[in-house]
Structure formats: C-alpha cells, structure tokens
Amino acid sequence: MANQLELSFLDQVREDVAHLAMSYPSRKAHCRYVDVRIAIAQGKGAVAENGMDKFSTEDYSFSFGVRAIAGEKLTATGYFGQLLGAADAGELLKRLEEALEHAYDRALWSARHKSAAREEFPRLASTLYDLSLAPIEIRQDTIPAQYQIDPREVPLKEVAQYTRHVSRQVQALSREVIYNYIGAETHLERLLFVSSEGANIDQTWAITQGTCFVVVQGPDAFQELYDFSGHQRGWEVITQGVDEAFIRYPSLLDFSLALAKDAIELAHSPPCPATDQEVVVVTDPHYNALVCHEVVGHPSELDRALKMETAYAGRSWFLKDLRDNQVGRQVASPLVSAFSDPTIEGFGHYLYDDEGTPARRAYHIRNGIYEEFLSSRQTAAILGTTSNGHYKATEAYLVPLIRMSNTAFAPGDRDPEEIIREVERGYYVVGHRIPSVAESRENFRITAMKVYEIRGGRLGQLYRDGGLIADTRDFFMNVDAVGNDLRLFAIPNCGKGQPMQTKRMSNGGPTMRSRARLSGRT
C-alpha cells in the first residue's frame, strides 16, 4: 500500500523534471517552449455548526499542469492538467511525458487553425498573431515557508476541538444567534516550477485560514454576517492571531465573537437610509479592502484589459485599446495611490509567479495617475513591457490567470480620527460585505457591515444594511483625505476564470474620505 505523499517527494524528482522540461522542445520539430508546475499540499481542517462537529479532515493533494507553445508559422498554446495520487509517484515522469504530448498536440493543431483563419478571414483575422513571451531573468531558487506551528504537526483532534469550541462560544453569546458556521484550516503547499528556458523554482507556503458566518434574529430584524481571518503562517494564526505591521487578527475565537456581537447589535439597529445625492463618506480600511479589490485590482489585470475575459470577468475602463487608455492620465485625486506587491507579507505573498517571473511591486495609481497593469509574460509582450509577476493559478492543474497579490490603497499621512472629526455631516462606513460592480469596473455598489451617522465630527446612529453606490472615477477624484492606518486583510475567495478559480490574496487600505450615494434596503 502506498503511503501518504509528503512534500519532500519533490526533492526526489526536481532535477529529472527540470531535465524533461529543458529537453522536450528539442525533441519536437515545432515546439518553442514548455513549462511544468507540480504541487503537493498537506493539511487539515474542520467545520462546526451551532456548536456541533460537522466535519474534519487531514489529507494531501498532488497535481500538475503543463503548457506548450508550438507552431509551424504562427504559434499557439496548449495545456494539460491532472490530479494525481500517491500511487502515481513512481510514474510521475511518464505522466508528465504524456501530458506534454497532449499539450503539444493541442498547441500545434490550434496554431494550424490560426494560420488557416488568417487566410480565410483576411480583413478580420490579421490580429491573430505569433504569440511570444516577454523575456525574464531565468532563476533557480528555493523559498521555504514561514510558520511557528507546522500545519502537519497540529493534531487533527485539536483542530476539530478548537473549531467546535469557537462555535459553542458564539452560540452562547445570545439566544438571538440562531446559526453559526465556524471553519478552520491550515496547510503547507509546495510548488515546483520548471521551464524549457531553465527556470527551476521551488516555493513553499504555510496557509492558515478561519471562517465565521453568523445569522442573528433580533426582535424586529435579522442580520447575517461573514468574514475571514488568515495569513501565510501556521496554526498559530487561528489560536493566537496575527500582530504584524499591516496585518492584525485576534484568535479565531475573539474574531468570531466580535463578528457575532456586531451582528447582534445590527439586528437591533434601523436600516440605513438610501440617499439620492452624494454625501460625505469616511470609509474604514476593511471596507476599502473590497473597494480596492473590485475597482482597482480587478480592472488592473491586463488579461481583462486586453479583452481576454470579456465573456465572464469583464473588461477594464482603464484600457480601451493600445492607443486609447488611462496610462499616464489622472484617474483619481492626487492623494490616491494603489499598488500590488507580492513581495510584502500577506495572504497574497510570493516571490515568483507561476511562470517563474520574479515578482515586484506594481503601482496601479500613483498620486492619482494611472501607471501599471498586472501582467503575465504573454500580456506584457503585447504591451511591449516586462511582466511584474502576477500570473497565478490556484491549483497546479489549472491554467494560471493574471491575479492580484497583496493589492491595496497606499497610506497617507492623516490621523483617521481627525478625518472623522472634520466631518460636520456624513457617514462612517465600516467593514465590507457584498460587492456588485459594473462590467468594466466603472461603477460599484458595495454594502458595508456597519454604517454610522457622523454629526459634528462624532459618530452617532448605527445603521444596518447600508453601503455605497458610486461611479469609480468620481469616487476616486473626490477623495480628500487618506489615513496613515494601512491594514491588509485576507481575501480567500476571489473568483476568476473558466473553470472558476478561487484565489487567496490580501487587499487593504487606510481610512479614506470621499463622496458617494448611500444604499439601503429595497
């Protein structure tokens, strides 16, 4: 009987897999490039509802994905992904050989179609081009994970017991808490990337995440809230929390109790009044995390901007075409800057993306001017630039997409309390809830956990079920204060691609002040 596969298995195959990738193109007449990603993860998790155990598991995953670029005249790509088990370990190279054959055949056949389509539709199909990848510095590197408590060493029973304990404590808060769901998971993930160009990069991450969903029934109203805690660390994230420069979480117990208390308070609060006109709004870091995610990060993905996601994820108002776009133009108040940076600590941290590109910070907006998209090698080549290393898949068997990493509004220099004190009449919008954005991210409605009225510089009435509606550029241009309190939050559920990939990342920002319409109940 085969044993559970360990992360260390990749040590045994690393050089053979690298050799396979390096040698493959020379064996095929029309193959220009291949790369291989192999991932192994080991972890555990548990779920409790209403104080009752529901599920616990300790398992591994093992999968790979390959890409080939091939063609006689024009080139095209082909991919193949597979989930594996421990029983495949001895035959990994054979499986990879087969996968490369599939990917190569698909690429070559698609390239032939591409050439034929150019001839068949001469007016329309001249843009079918000879695909290329922007050059990168080819690296060999090994990056270890960071953690105090190794996810592999935590007893599964402890994970289940802790989760049940949190769920019971939340339930015990009040009879008005009629449902709660508590989830905790912790795992190590190791990813090997090799390419025919000679890249050989081995990265390991510790990933730990808590989830709380609570439903409260008050005397006249109800409230459902959910939120996540998480960081690229070990089990200590759940039991001790995180206290770093921009990332702060209490233990999952305190995190969940606080969320439940908020839900109880909200179920006793009136609904937020909607406004026909814009009002002054101060938005807190947690709310701004989702604003930044939806209307800075997503439209800054270059695959989206180049129309490659038109059917599903949408386009970007930052780029109409290569001549007509917002690069170098003012899109926000000079107080607004926003960036993506995989190299800083956060849920979206890594040093190399899924095509071996060394990751670096990209400023999307700097002092109000649009500056740079998130890119892959293929999309960067179309723009004639270099990739900033944001091509990531959630699993090795899936094809990478351009994704956010740690994407946030940059901090300003204002005291957040002073930003509120300066408001004679307005609203303080706290905690993000659910977003709905326009197709090119040019407008948004994002609901908040809590909305407080501000009168004479002080917080007053608390409202439930409120949020903001705004055209993105107007909201950015109206920003007149940016706080010095940057925070990053774990966003574990960003969906993109077909099939849908759900990626972990960090989003954040400081306290900000702008103008928007308030939304309420309908």
Binding site: M1, A2, Q4, M52, K54, F55, S56, T57, E58, D59, T77, G78, Y79, F80, G81, Q82, L83, L84, A87, D105, R106, W109, S110, H113, A117, R123, L124, A125, T127, L128, L156, V215, Q217, F222, E224, K307, M308, T310, A311, Y312, G314, W317, K320, L322, V399, R433, I434, P435, V437, A438, E439, S440, E442, R445, D465, I469, D471, Q498, P499, R521
Partner: protein, 513 residues
Amino acid sequence: MLLPLSELQRAAQEALQFLMAQKDVREAEIFVSCNGILHCRLNYTSHLPCNGVEEPKSVANYGIGIRVVLQAPEGEGVLVGFGSEPNDISLDGVQLALEKARRGAVADPEFVSLPRPTGEMRRLHAYHDPRIMELKDQELVDLGWQIIRQGLKAFQSAELLLDRDPQELALILGGDVTVLQERMAIVSSAMPHVQTDESTLILSFVTAMVEGEASKGSGYGAVTHWERFHGEAGREAAEMAVRTVGGVRVPAGRYRVVLGRQAFMDLLENLILPGLSLGTWYAAASPFLGQLGKEIASPKLNIIDDGAAEGLAGSKGITCEGLPTGRTELIRNGVLVGLLCDWYESQRITKDPRAKEKLGVDPQQWRHALVPRNGFRFARGGGRHYDMQPGIHATNVIVPGEEDHSQLLRLVGDGLYIGRIWYTYPVNGLRAGDFTATIVGDSFVIRDGRLAEPIRPNTLRINDNIHNVLRGIIGVGREARPTLVWAADEIVYAPEIAVEALEVQPITQFMGS
C-alpha cells in the same frame, strides 16, 4: 482516457465487501468516479493581438471516496467520517481512504444515517454520448475554432463591416466551450447493488462586442451529443452585438420589463435557487423562510427541477448519493411547494427543534416536499468528484410558460427588455432578498409593445428585491432554451418573463455616450 465503467463498478463492489468486514464500520458508502473536464477558452479581437483559441486545456481525475459510520470507541454513539484517495481505486486506495475517514470522523448529533432508498425508481439509463467520451485533442481544438469561425462569418457578413475598418470597430469574440465527461459508480451498505451512471455534455458560452460602438451580444448552448454541436453560440453572439449597435442611455425609474433568458437565469442562480435549497433554510438564511406552502410569487410562476428529464442537458440517472433523480416541483402557481434537498439535509431538518419555525410547516407532514433528489458532488467547473461530499445542486431547472415573445412585449407595452445582467448579488445578505446588478448587453427599449432602440451596455444599475420581482411577474414565455451563467452547475431551461416593475438607475455618466 477515462477508466471503463466496469472497473469503477468492480472497485466499488470490492470496497464495500472490505469495509463491511471491518469491526467498527456500521454503515458504508463508496463513490468511485472519473472525470474529464475539457475547455477551449476563446479570445478574438480585431484591434488587439489575439490567439482566437486562447487555451485548449483539460483536467482529468479519478479516485475513490468513502463515507463510513463508525462505532464510537468510547461508549455509545457513532462517528461519521469521509475519506478519499486519488488515482488508486484498488483495495490499497480503499484502505488509505478508510484511514482518513477514521482519523477525521466526528460525532455529529444531527446525523441520522447514510442515504437509504426513497422508494422512487430510476428513470434515466444509457443517455450519454460515447462519442464525447472518446474526444481527441484535435477535436477539442476544433470545437473552439468552430465557434470562432461562426462568429467571424457573422461579423464578416454584417452590413456594418462593409465600409468600416474592423480595427476601428473593435470587434470582440470571447468565451469558451466546455466538454464534460463523467463516469461514476456508487454502492452502500443500505443499497448494496452497485449503481453506475455516465453523462456527457458540451456547453458553450460566447460574448461578442462591437466595442467601438459599445454594443454587446451573447450566445450560448448546451448539448448532450456530439452531432448536435454546431458552434452557433459564436454566430448568435456576433449577430446580437451587431444588432445592438447604437445603444441609448435610459433615465432612472421603475419600468415594466421583460427579463431575457440570461437575466432571469442570473436571478435564479444567485437568489432564487439558493433560497430554495434546504441547507439555506437550516441556516435561517433563505428569503423564503417560513413560507413553505405559502404564496411567494405571482400565480403565473411555476419552477420545477427535473434531473431525470430525457434529452435535457442537466439530466443524470442517479444522484451522487445513489438515489434516483426526478421531478421536484418547487413553485406551483406561485406557491412554494418543494425544496431542493440532499439526504443529509432532508434528515437533519427532522431533528431541528426550530424546523417548524424555519419551514412554516411541520417537516413530518411535508416530507413529500423534502425528497432528496439533488445530492451531487459537483465541483471544479464540472464533473462528479470522489473527493467531495454530496451537496445540494439543481439539475435542469424548468420554468414553463404560455406567452410567446411578442405577447410578452405587448404585456409590457412601454418599458425595457433586459437581456443580460451581471454581478447579480444579494447585497444585504440572501435572506433580505435585496439585489443589485448592472445591465451589460442584449437589451432594448420596448415601445408600443415592440423592441425599439438598443440600450447601451453598462449604463444602468438595477436595485430591487427578489420578492418584488417574483410577485410582480405578469407573463412567462413558452420558448425556453438551455441557458448558462458563469460557474453555475445547473442548466436552466429559461423563458423570458415579464415583470410589472423594476427599479433602474443610470450609472457611469463619466464614460460619455
């Protein structure tokens, strides 16, 4: 290459014998499956470098999953565990899965039993297409290029293209074609005869734009057999994109509307079906809480889930719990009469002390409304997965109606035809029923009961509540077709519906006209 069904069948049988020979195992269920999920992602642009077929790709997997009820080591009671092992369906794999199930087993006080026969009979056998099971790499690529060619032909023959530069018009054709190959076998101590199922599906979803004119159209299709796929989604999307050139902005207001198939599907996927799932009721998060047996919609509305309908794209022979699929009436003449259930939730509700308050009726007296016909292990954008536990998923959602397209337009008189909406979410939580979405294409002004000028995409936001929509239905179309939205598992045979009033507000004024 997928494993043959006979291998899955044999593995399931051997695993059951092995598991029931274990001293601590009281009940066991074995689910063995293999899946091929193949995609061609499409991207053509007339103004930017592109590849046409951007990504021909696939994911293959197989393995074994087991659910066991174990005698608790200390004293009374049972533990329930789940474990799976990929790519090894031999007894070695079963042993590994059992070890994981034992290690993770928990005492769930609400657990009643693993699935048992419901008394219903399987209706659907041998309905898949063996041709799709044998799909070759080149054929996958051909499917994608077939759609691209259909779209380019439609653009090429458009009058608009006669005297305009395609680069200036900025034509876009994007989306994907998805092929699903699914095989599974299931057996359990309660249902010891191995059952098997095979299903195949080709789905296509395409969006086309004349971006230079800010117009957008959609095309989609779902077929179960190879010979029924012709790539029409590309042509359909391109033709609609051309047809909606010259879109106008519409002022704010409450409009009488016709919701097109995709728009209605989006409401079903994001609000109505989650609200009709029994798990959501357990969590007290359904907008229809406490209203089983009560009127929740216009009497014109009927919604049925039918996983055993012959020839429909979402049909399966059995659920991933080994129970027969079948017809579940959800809404009959506006009255809520049934919920989507899997076995676990249909049992758990009977142990829930707040069940009557949540449902609005005694679950024991309404067992006919809580039949577990929707327990599936869908994930990863398709496939029936051995490493997932069952959850509630709709199959073919059928909404019968009587009016034809022109009758619906006449019912509206003056209003809006909303063909496609986007990012449709219950922004104040599902239970509140409030939702918002933007109108992104395929939409028109309705004037004097006819389609008039197109509506410019991305210029209107809907802010309303699902209860208003359901109660305000004034007509349901009779021409339904399989409709898809992103990341949905179910296929909705969606008609167009006419609704008394929907609140819309103009947005994105800064983008100009």
